[in-house]
Structures are given as structure tokens and as C-alpha cells.
């Protein structure tokens, strides 16, 4: 039995079922912005540590300071456009391979956020591959304070406004640090991915 034979059989069986002519509703056009206060509240409920800064360089400096407070010795890892910001902030970031080490910190940009669920949306890009968001022990996301949307559907609407229909290879919708309750239903943070998820809101 070869694959295309199975394909045709499955599809022809599916076509035998009566089909109702109900089409998906048209995609909504304009994204709606969400309430920042509600967003921060729900993000905190999701165990996301939230801070605020006026501009990116200042935020990166603050993250360094946070690392010292947490006694995290290594250099944080950043990539893409944030590299030059980091250097402007006065420090040299570590390479992506540093994320495999214990106590690693990954700083990335969040594409937007969802107020409805206290959620951050991160795109996988060649210079900032998706795995980094899961491999680091501590995860920082910078978010432009103007990019808090109302609901998950507004994320797709925003994408269609800014880009064509083609999404990047992966979109990660992140609502807190890695967690598990697989042993005796007891919540533990930092199962396989980041032990902490931290948000730096940039601007007003």
C-alpha cells in the first residue's frame, strides 16, 4: 500500500459524507486594542513577572540589573535587532549556544500581546529561532506597550494588516513559564523550559 493510495481512499470516504455549505465567517479586518491594565493583571496571574521602561536600552540595562539581583552570572543571549541595542546598553551578549548552559537568560522581542488572557506572542525568525524561547532557563520578552491587542483573534487580524497571509514558520503564544502538574497534580514551574517568564513593557 503506498501513501497516495491511502490519501485517495481517505479523501474519497470523507467526500461520501453529506456536506453542509457552512463557510467560515469572513476574517475580521481591523484588530482591536486591549486594556493594558487587564493585560498586566492577567499576565501576573499567569506567573509572568512584569516591569516597565521608557526605551529599549533602558530596559536592557534593567534586565542586567535583575540578573545581578538573581545572581545569574552569565551574559544574556539576544539576537537580531536587539544585538545593537544590547551593545548600546553597554554589554556583549552571549551566543545562542549559551542557551544550553544552566542559568541561561534569553531576551527576545514579543510581537504583540493579548489582554484577554495575559498572553505574549512571539514569532520564530531565522535570527531568533523558536527553540530559544523554550531552551533558556530564564526568559525575558520586550513588548512595545502599544501592541497590546484585545483577543487572540486580533493577533491574526494584526498580522493580516501588517503582512500577507503567510505566517512565519512558527508563532508561539506564551502564557507563562514552563510548568507541570504531572506529579500529584501539584503545580511546578520550570518543567523543561524557562523557570521564569519576564516581561519588559517598553514605552507608554
Amino acid at each position: 500500500m503506498n501513501g497516495s493510495h491511502s490519501r485517495d481512499r481517505i479523501l474519497s470516504r470523507l467526500r461520501q459524507a453529506p456536506s453542509a455549505a457552512s463557510r467560515a465567517p469572513a476574517n475580521p479586518l481591523s484588530p482591536v486594542h486591549g486594556d493594558p491594565t487587564r493585560f498586566r493583571q492577567l499576565a501576573r496571574d499567569n506567573h509572568i513577572h512584569c516591569e516597565h521602561c521608557d526605551e529599549v536600552t533602558q530596559g536592557l540595562q534593567r534586565i542586567r540589573q535583575w540578573m545581578q539581583e538573581q545572581e545569574l552570572p552569565s551574559a544574556p543571549v539576544v539576537s537580531g535587532p536587539l544585538l545593537s541595542d544590547a551593545r548600546a546598553a553597554g554589554w556583549e551578549p552571549g551566543p545562542l549556544s549559551d542557551l544550553r548552559r544552566p542559568h541561561s537568560v534569553w531576551i527576545n522581542q514579543s510581537w504583540c500581546a493579548v489582554a484577554d488572557t495575559g498572553t505574549l506572542v512571539v514569532l520564530s525568525r531565522p535570527e531568533a529561532p523558536g527553540y530559544a524561547n523554550f531552551l533558556a532557563e530564564h526568559h525575558w520578552l520586550l513588548l512595545d506597550a502599544g501592541r497590546i491587542l484585545a483577543t487572540k483573534n486580533d493577533v491574526w487580524a494584526q498580522w493580516r494588516v501588517e503582512h500577507d497571509d503567510t505566517l512565519p514558520p512558527a508563532v508561539h503564544i506564551i502564557s507563562g513559564p514552563s510548568r507541570t502538574a504531572d506529579i500529584e497534580q501539584t503545580l511546578q514551574l520550570g518543567a523543561h523550559g524557562p523557570r521564569s517568564l519576564n516581561l519588559m513593557l517598553v514605552g507608554r
Binding site: 491574526w156 514558520p169 507541570t180 497534580q185
Partner: protein, 463 residues
């Protein structure tokens, strides 16, 4: 490997009732899941509305499943992946093995997949010489214990921390822990699995949804293990059953609105990832090789028939968590991959009816499963239909069949019915009914005659 069989449900269930460790674990699990879901629903203005939207999204998808699956295939291909189709479990396993061989890899890491459980993917891969590690903590625990999962979203729900500690001590080559705290156990598993993530050649994950318009595979997790499995190895294989398809990103969102809340009481789990194509990584050079294997295994036949509703199931586990039977006997007693109410419907449909006889009967028809199902699946009605089919195929015990036949005849012959009741009333004074189990008190009839007799006697006297 411990063996459980669906047809031995009663024996396995009775054993589970006597297992005090299991009963403790089940108590904790049931109260935890039920309370968290209830709390999550309280925070929503109108959960019924969310349910309707989720249901509509899935109905839309089912009504044009062939078109949407083709669209999905087309998009995945355009994004640099490849879609394979498997009529049954054996074909899925063969396809996955072929991909792994072509990838030249030996070490496989796997995210949680019920489809993989359904097809027996792990034993097939191991028999083919691959080294496979489950990376979801619960799945990892039961892989070490060589047991099947006992819950569709919390596979090791039947294990206590001490049992997990013993398993880890036996399997992990590392100095003994200081104490069996759950935090220590999670940290130890993290350390062990990290090495696996970093060295694996192939990552296999399941899918919660497939989105036709974008070719997305949607993966919903809390641990992040699925995303590490999807992203780190040079080959990614997604295994998914065909009814996971939805039309649009918005339809996927509609399902996500009810999935997390019904499953773990979360509006959103920690990670919801939409995978469109292979990893593109500046550092890695060549792109990842990316495959999606779609499994039918009898589902396409269900679409046109009286069991179509079960194809809306999103495997949230709410019906398990709220089922009085499941929460007293646990998943293993069912002897099937999918336990609880949704499993008792799906299993007989995926296999033959004869090998799963007790499952459709293991329900008191209390209706709580239907009440909590976010997709509005009429589970009791589907179980009842399966009982009809068992009857048509004469699969129920002869005694039952005959007894119900006689009772049905009497129900249509009132005089004989009354006479029989009268005789039975007399007999009840002498012996307990034959089906009355040990531990029940024999009940004696009250008053003189049946209620109807008493009523008519009393109204005669009044006249």
C-alpha cells in the same frame, strides 16, 4: 509491560476499587481537575457562547473535511513540509519508521501524542531499533514504569510521588536525591531530559489542531517539551488524526477558548504554538526536514454515520474528570487507549465491538459527561447506540438478553405484568433478587400489594 484488556473491565475495575494508593491518587486528581475547571468557567462571561462557537468551528470543519485536509496538505507543502496519509495505525507506524530511517537518525524524542498511543508507535519504533524517549513528564514516568497512560491529558495521574521517586532512583544514574519533594523530582527529570533534547535526531509530536488555511499544526502544552521536541532535532514529525482539522486561524482560536479551560482550567496553557513550516535557523545552515502524518484509522467511515458527533472530540479530558466511573476506577481499568466516556464511545468504533464489550455498558447514564463536554457531544446517546449495536450483534450475555426480552414482553401485556409483579412481591419476601450483589441488604416490599393495587383498593373503599 502491564497488560490490560477492555473485556476484562469489570475485573480490572474491581481490583482498582481495592487499590488504596490508586484511590488516593484518583481522589486528588478528580478534585483538582474539577475545581480548576469550575473556577475557570466562573471567570468567563458566557461559556455556553464559547462552547457554541467551538462546536460550530468543528462542525464546519467536518462538513468539508476532504477539502480542508487537501488545503492543509497544499499549505504544508508550500511551507516546505510534507504530508503523508495513513489509513490505519500500521501504515502510520511504517511511515514514521521510514522517515526516521531516511533521516539517518537513531535517537528520537517524543512529545505527548494520543495518536501515537493509538497506533502503538513507541513499540513499533523500538522494535525497528530506534531509541525513543517520551519527554512529557507524565509520559516519561509511565515510559519508565512500562505502563500505558491512564488519562488522556495526565498520563501518570495514577502515580504518587513516592512511586515516581522509586522509578527515578531505579532508572537515573545519578547520586540519590535529598528528599522526594515534587520540586526535586521535577528538577531531576528536567536534568535527565535536557540531555535527550540536545542530542536527539528526530522529534515526534502530536497535534491539537490542524489549520487548513495556513497549514498550521497547533500544539498546546504546559511544559514546553513538545516545542523543544519540535524545534531542536533536525527532523520533525507530526502525527495527527484527520478530525483535528479546522478551517481557519479564528476557528482554531474558537476551539482553544474551550480546550484549556475544560482540560486544566487554564484560559490558555503556558504554550500554544502554531507551526507552519520547518525551523529556519541562521546558525544551523540547512533547513529542518518536516513531516506531517495524517491518520484515518476508521474515522472517515464515522463521518457519514450515527457516530459523527464523536469526531468533534478535542481530547480535553473533561468527561473523564467528571465521570463517576472513571474517577473511581482510573484509566487502566478500561484496558483501552482512550478511557472514560469518550473512550468508551471511540474505542468500540476504532476496534471491533466484540473486544470492547464492557465499555459502552460501564456508564450509569448520569449525563455528567455530556454536561461538561465543551463540544456538546451527546456521549450517553452514543453509548446507548453502541449498546443497540451490541444487541444487534448478540454480544450481550444470553441471560441479559433473555431477561430483557421477557421484561419487554411483560411491559406490553399489562395483565401478565401485574401477575408477575404479584408473584415477585411474594418471592421478595423469601429471597433477595438474583442480581443483588454481596454487601447489599435484601429489601422487603412495603404495604399490601403494589402501589397500583393499593390505590385501586383504597378508591373502591372510598366509593
Amino acid at each position: 509491560m502491564m497488560r490490560y484488556q477492555a473485556n476484562a473491565f469489570k475485573r480490572q475495575a474491581n481490583k482498582a476499587l481495592q487499590d488504596t494508593t490508586l484511590q488516593q491518587a484518583l481522589d486528588r486528581a478528580q478534585t483538582g481537575f474539577v475545581a480548576r475547571r469550575a473556577k475557570a468557567l466562573e471567570l468567563v462571561d458566557d461559556f455556553e457562547h464559547l462552547k457554541q462557537q467551538a462546536r460550530a468551528a468543528k462542525e464546519r470543519a467536518l462538513s468539508e473535511a476532504a477539502y480542508l485536509l487537501e488545503r492543509f496538505e497544499c499549505q504544508v507543502t508550500a511551507n516546505g513540509g510534507r504530508v503523508h496519509w495513513a489509513l490505519d495505525g500500521a501504515e502510520l507506524n511504517r511511515t514514521v519508521i521510514d522517515i526516521c530511517r531516511q533521516a539517518g537518525g537513531r535517537r528520537i524524542i517524543k512529545g505527548k501524542s494520543m495518536v501515537g498511543e493509538e497506533t502503538g508507535l513507541n513499540p513499533a519504533l523500538e522494535a525497528a531499533g530506534f531509541e525513543l524517549v517520551e519527554t512529557d513528564l507524565g509520559e516519561y514516568i509511565i515510559q519508565l514504569a512500562q505502563e500505558p497512560p491512564s488519562h488522556i491529558i495526565a498520563p501518570a495521574i495514577h502515580k504518587t510521588r513516592h512511586q515516581v521517586a522509586d522509578l527515578f532512583a531505579r532508572h537515573h544514574r545519578q547520586p540519590p536525591r535529598t528528599g522526594d519533594s515534587i520540586a526535586n523530582l521535577v528538577a531531576e527529570a528536567r536534568q535527565q531530559l535536557r540531555a535527550q533534547f540536545l542530542s536527539a535526531d528526530v522529534g515526534i509530536i502530536g497535534a491539537n489542531l490542524l489549520v487548513a488555511e495556513t497549514g498550521s499544526v497547533v500544539l498546546v502544552t504546559n511544559e514546553g517539551n513538545g516545542d523543544l521536541s519540535a524545534n531542536l532535532p533536525r527532523t520533525r514529525i507530526v502525527v495527527a488524526s484527520i478530525e483535528k482539522i479546522v478551517a481557519t486561524l479564528e476557528d482554531a482560536n474558537a476551539v482553544l477558548e474551550v480546550l484549556g479551560r475544560s482540560a486544566t482550567g487554564q484560559a490558555m496553557t503556558a504554550y500554544t504554538s502554531f507551526y507552519q513550516g520547518p525551523v529556519q535557523d541562521d546558525a544551523a545552515g540547512s533547513p529542518q526536514s518536516y513531516h506531517v502524518v495524517l491518520l484515518d484509522n476508521g474515522r472517515s467511515d464515522l463521518l457519514a454515520g450515527p457516530y459523527r458527533d464523536i469526531l468533534r472530540c478535542i481530547k480535553c479530558g473533561a468527561c473523564l474528570n467528571h465521570c463517576p466511573v472513571y474517577s473511581n476506577v482510573g484509566g487502566h481499568a478500561y484496558g483501552s487507549v482512550y478511557p472514560g466516556p469518550m473512550g468508551s464511545v471511540l474505542e468500540p468504533l476504532l476496534h471491533e465491538l466484540a473486544s470492547t464489550r464492557p465499555l459502552p455498558n460501564a456508564s450509569s447514564f448520569c449525563g455528567r459527561c455530556e454536561e461538561v463536554c465543551p463540544m456538546g457531544i451527546p456521549l450517553p446517546r452514543l453509548l446507548r447506540q453502541l449498546r443497540d449495536r451490541q444487541h444487534e450483534q448478540q454480544l450481550e450475555p444470553q441471560g441479559w438478553r433473555r431477561g430483557l426480552g421477557i421484561y419487554g414482553w411483560l411491559s406490553r401485556h399489562p395483565r401478565c405484568f401485574r401477575l408477575t409483579l404479584k408473584l415477585l412481591r411474594g418471592a421478595l419476601w423469601l429471597v433477595p433478587p438474583p442480581f443483588w450483589g454481596q454487601g447489599r441488604r435484601p429489601l422487603r416490599p412495603a404495604g399490601r400489594g403494589t402501589f397500583v393495587e393499593q390505590w385501586h383498593r383504597a378508591s373502591r373503599n372510598e366509593r
